[in-house]
C-alpha cells in the first residue's frame, strides 16, 4: 500500500471523512436532477465565492463612511488584483440574486414545496430574503452616491408602514437620518450576521432536502412514477460541476468584459448627503419595487410587497393538492406566470423611469 493511501486510511479511520463522501456519492436522487442546470449547486458555489471574495475584501477595505469610498478606489487601482476580487464580489452578488430568483420560481412552478417539502420551501424563502438583505446591505458599504441615496429611499419607504413607520425607519437607520450609524448597522449585518445566517440556513436547507429527498420533475398524474433514481456520483455531481464551471466563466466574462455592467455613473461618486443626483435607481433586482410607487400610492405599494412576501411563505398552505405538474394546477400556474411577467414589466418600467 502506498504511503499516501495509508495516510488517507488512517485519516478516514479517525474522521469518517471517506465514509461521508462515499455515502454522499451513493445518495440517490431523481434521474433528471441537474438537467438542464443544477441551480441549487450553483447557488451554493456562488455563495461560497461571495464568502471567499468578501473575506479577501476585508483585508483592504476601510469600513467607515470617512474612508470606505477611498479604500474601494484604492482596491480598484492600487491593490494587485483588487479589481478582480472587488468586481467578482459585486457582480457575484447580482448573479447570486438572479440565480436565487430562478431557483425559487423553478421550485414554485414544479410544485416542489408540496408535502413533505414545506419546510424545505420555507427555509429556502428565508435564505432568499437573507440573500436580498445581503445584497442591499452590501450596496451601502462603498458609501457612494448610489449607496447613500438608495439607502435613504429604501429606509424612508418603511415610514409608510402603519403605526410603526417612523420608528421602523429610525431603527433601521440607527438615527433620524442615514449616516454613520446606518453604515455601521449595514456593515455588522453584511459581514457577520447575514453570512452566518446564510451558512447556517444553507446547512439546514440541505439537511432537510436530504431528509425528504429531491422532488424531481413532476409527472402528469400524482402517482406517476418517474425513471429510477440514480446515485449522485458520477452523473449528477458532474452536471453540477459543469454548471458551476459555466457560472464561473459567465462571472469572469462579466467582470472582464463589462466591469460597469451593474454600476451607474453615480456609483463612482462619493456620498453627498446634501445633493441627490438625478436618476438614482436601485440595483436591477429592486427596480420592480422602485417602480411600484409610480403606479400606486406608497402605502398600497407597501401592502403589495407585504402581500407578496406573505404569499411566498403561504404557498404550501394554499396549494395543498398532491398534484405538482404545472398543467394540473392551471390557476396557480397562471398566477405564477403573471407574477413573473409583472416582475419583468415593472423592472423595465423602473429602468426606463
Amino acid at each position: 500500500m502506498s504511503r499516501s493511501r495509508r495516510l488517507w486510511q488512517s485519516l478516514d479511520r479517525r474522521t469518517g471523512l471517506g465514509t461521508s463522501i462515499r455515502r454522499f456519492a451513493a445518495y440517490r436522487v431523481p434521474a433528471d436532477t441537474g438537467k438542464p442546470v443544477s441551480l441549487g449547486a450553483v447557488l451554493v458555489f456562488a455563495l461560497l465565492l461571495q464568502l471567499a471574495t468578501g473575506m479577501l475584501l476585508l483585508f483592504h477595505f476601510v469600513p467607515d463612511p470617512s474612508g470606505a469610498f477611498e479604500s474601494v478606489r484604492a482596491l480598484m487601482r492600487d491593490v494587485p488584483y483588487g479589481w478582480l476580487i472587488r468586481l467578482a464580489h459585486a457582480h457575484g452578488a447580482s448573479f447570486l440574486v438572479a440565480i436565487a430568483f430562478v431557483h425559487l420560481f423553478h421550485a414554485a412552478f414544479r410544485g416542489s414545496y408540496k408535502d413533505p417539502r414545506e419546510a424545505v420551501w420555507w427555509s429556502g424563502c428565508v435564505l432568499f430574503l437573507a440573500i436580498l438583505a445581503s445584497a442591499l446591505t452590501g450596496y451601502i458599504l462603498p458609501w457612494s452616491q448610489t449607496s447613500f441615496w438608495a439607502t435613504t429611499v429604501v429606509t424612508a419607504s418603511l415610514s409608510y408602514l402603519p403605526f410603526v413607520g417612523q420608528s421602523a425607519t429610525e431603527w433601521v437607520r440607527g438615527g433620524e437620518w442615514v449616516g454613520d450609524a446606518t453604515y455601521r448597522r449595514a456593515f455588522a449585518a453584511h459581514v457577520a450576521l447575514l453570512p452566518l445566517a446564510l451558512v447556517a440556513g444553507v446547512a439546514v436547507h440541505l439537511a432537510w432536502v436530504r431528509r425528504v429527498g429531491l422532488a424531481g420533475r413532476p409527472g402528469r398524474r400524482a402517482d406517476a412514477e418517474g425513471p429510477a433514481p440514480i446515485p449522485v456520483w458520477p452523473r449528477v455531481a458532474l452536471r453540477a460541476a459543469l454548471a458551476c464551471g459555466v457560472f464561473a466563466m459567465a462571472l469572469v466574462a462579466s467582470v472582464v468584459f463589462a466591469p460597469n455592467l451593474f454600476f451607474p455613473v453615480e456609483h463612482a461618486l462619493p456620498a453627498d448627503p446634501f445633493d441627490t443626483p438625478l436618476n438614482v435607481k436601485p440595483e436591477w433586482y429592486f427596480l420592480w419595487a422602485y417602480a411600484l410607487p409610480r403606479f400606486m400610492p406608497e402605502r398600497l405599494a407597501l401592502i403589495v410587497q407585504a402581500g407578496l412576501l406573505l404569499a411566498l411563505f403561504a404557498l404550501p398552505l394554499v396549494d395543498r393538492s398532491p398534484r405538482r405538474h404545472p398543467r394540473d394546477r392551471p390557476y396557480l400556474t397562471t398566477v405564477l406566470i403573471g407574477v413573473v411577467l409583472a416582475f419583468v414589466a415593472l423592472t423595465i418600467a423602473g429602468a426606463r423611469a
Partner: protein
C-alpha cells in the same frame, strides 16, 4: 387544567405532578433568563440621539428674484428662495422618500430627482407622489444677510 389521571379517574402519582412543576419551573426560568439577556440587547440596538447641530445659517442677501441657494441648518439641507412675496426657506428633504429636492428656476418649482415630486415656490405639492408640503423654516432678512432658523 384538570390534573392528568388514568382511565379510572385516579389521581396521578405524586412524582408525575412534581415532574410537571419542575418542567414549568425550568421552562419559566429559561424564558426569564432569555428575556433578561434580550432586554439589554434591545436597548443596545436602539438608535442613539445625536447632539443637535447648529440650527441657524446665514447667507449674504445677494439672492436674486426666483433664485435659490442651499444652506445647511441643523445638519440638514435647506433651500432659501426669493419669491416676489419675499424670501422663503424650506427643508430640502422631499416629503416622499427623503431625497434632496432641487430648485428649477425656469418652472419656479422644487423638483425631487428620485420619484419626480414637484413643489411650488410656497412648498406646496404641485405633482408627483409627495404626501405633504415641504417643511418651512423661519427666515428673516437682516442688513446684508438672510438668516434661516430652525425652531
Amino acid at each position: 387544567m384538570a390534573p392528568p389521571g388514568d382511565d379510572d379517574g385516579n389521581r396521578p402519582e405524586r412524582g408525575v405532578d412534581r415532574r410537571r412543576v419542575l418542567q414549568l419551573l425550568m421552562g419559566g426560568s429559561t424564558a426569564v433568563l432569555a428575556g433578561m439577556a434580550a432586554a439589554p440587547v434591545a436597548s443596545y440596538l436602539r438608535p442613539l440621539a445625536l447632539p443637535e447641530a447648529e440650527a441657524v445659517a446665514a447667507i449674504d442677501d445677494s439672492l436674486g428674484l426666483w433664485e435659490a441657494r442651499q444652506v445647511v441648518v441643523a445638519g440638514r439641507p435647506v433651500l432659501v428662495v426669493r419669491t416676489n412675496e419675499g424670501v422663503r426657506a424650506f427643508s430640502a428633504i422631499c416629503t416622499h422618500l427623503g431625497c434632496v429636492v432641487k430648485w428649477r428656476k425656469g418652472r419656479r418649482e422644487f423638483f425631487c430627482p428620485c420619484h419626480g415630486a414637484r413643489f411650488d415656490a410656497e412648498g406646496r405639492v404641485r405633482g408627483g407622489p409627495a404626501p405633504r408640503s415641504l417643511a418651512r423654516l423661519e427666515v428673516s432678512e437682516e442688513p446684508g444677510a438672510i438668516v434661516v432658523r430652525k425652531t
